[in-house]
Symmetry: C2
Subunit: 170 residues, 2 copies
């Protein structure tokens, strides 16, 4: 049986080593807090304005400013900065905390589309950092799709099929 991380690698096209190349340098030291705030603000502005109602509705029960803070605090903590997220909310527990949301293949791709555009729009992020972050985000998005499938399994439904709609590697 495939593990969560094996599924994430296969479905995302990003292997484990590339996904966690964010740990080879300290991206927080390199980019600074404001860059992460700008990135998450740009990202969620795109999400909350998304023309696709099915995607926008996933976030409908959260305030935009809370979503921004949760995201940049997690990114800062995960990419070498102070543990802002855990000080306020505890363990990231990515799969557990995404449990209320339908993290499908399609939702992952739309999340990644907005994030790619937000990264492109955040000019303080150099190309090397951008590549590391995109690989991390793409792998993580599909890690959460794999986590989402656990939910379906527990309810007796078959897991989603991903093979027919496998995304291209970054």
């Amino acid at each position: 049986m495939q593990t969560l991380q094996q599924k994430a690698s296969e479905w995302s096209g990003v292997d484990q080593q590339d996904a966690f190349a964010i740990d080879e340098i300290n991206l927080f030291d390199k980019l600074g807090l404001q860059t992460f705030i700008d990135l998450s603000t740009d990202f969620y502005t795109r999400v909350y304005d998304d023309e696709e109602e099915w995607f926008r509705s996933i976030f409908a029960n959260s305030k935009k400013e809370d979503a921004i803070q949760n995201q940049y605090e997690f990114f800062v903590q995960r990419m070498g900065g102070p543990p802002l997220y855990s000080q306020r909310k505890g363990h990231p527990a990515l799969i557990g905390r995404h449990r209320p949301f339908p993290v499908t293949h399609e939702a992952a791709e739309r999340w990644l589309l907005h994030m790619q555009q937000a990264l492109d729009n955040t000019t303080d992020i150099d190309q090397d950092s951008k590549t590391r972050m995109l690989n991390f985000f793409r792998h993580t998005a599909y890690f959460l799709v794999a986590g989402n499938d656990l939910k379906n399994q527990s309810q007796g439904a078959p897991p989603c099929k991903h093979g027919a709609n496998k995304p291209a590697a970054v």
Copy 2:
């Protein structure tokens, strides 16, 4: 509705700030890799030898040496050392990865009993570090009990009742 971290604090008796006081110093730099290996080896030796079959059986599908490695790599990564766990397995995703296991109140308390004894038996761990780690472990154990209750909710069963059996604060 209480969040996962609010439940963890209430049920464990350890507030957020005390739980994450592990981040105020670098415990990996202070204690070193071998201490974490020794701690996890001692802990899982107790677990796999537990006279309580119900508890021992939770771990029956994992090899002891794998359980040891998973644990000390996570501890090292979380307590200021290199990201050994993520390099090999990806996100810790504590709730998601504990999903196959019945993380009940009773299982949390028995886990903590063995960990308390393992900490006491690992003489390289000073009292201050031990207090920080125990608070982190106690809070985290109940964070996972809260995560376990999500599982019951999705299956239509009511969440476990904890109020009547609330543990004393550390």
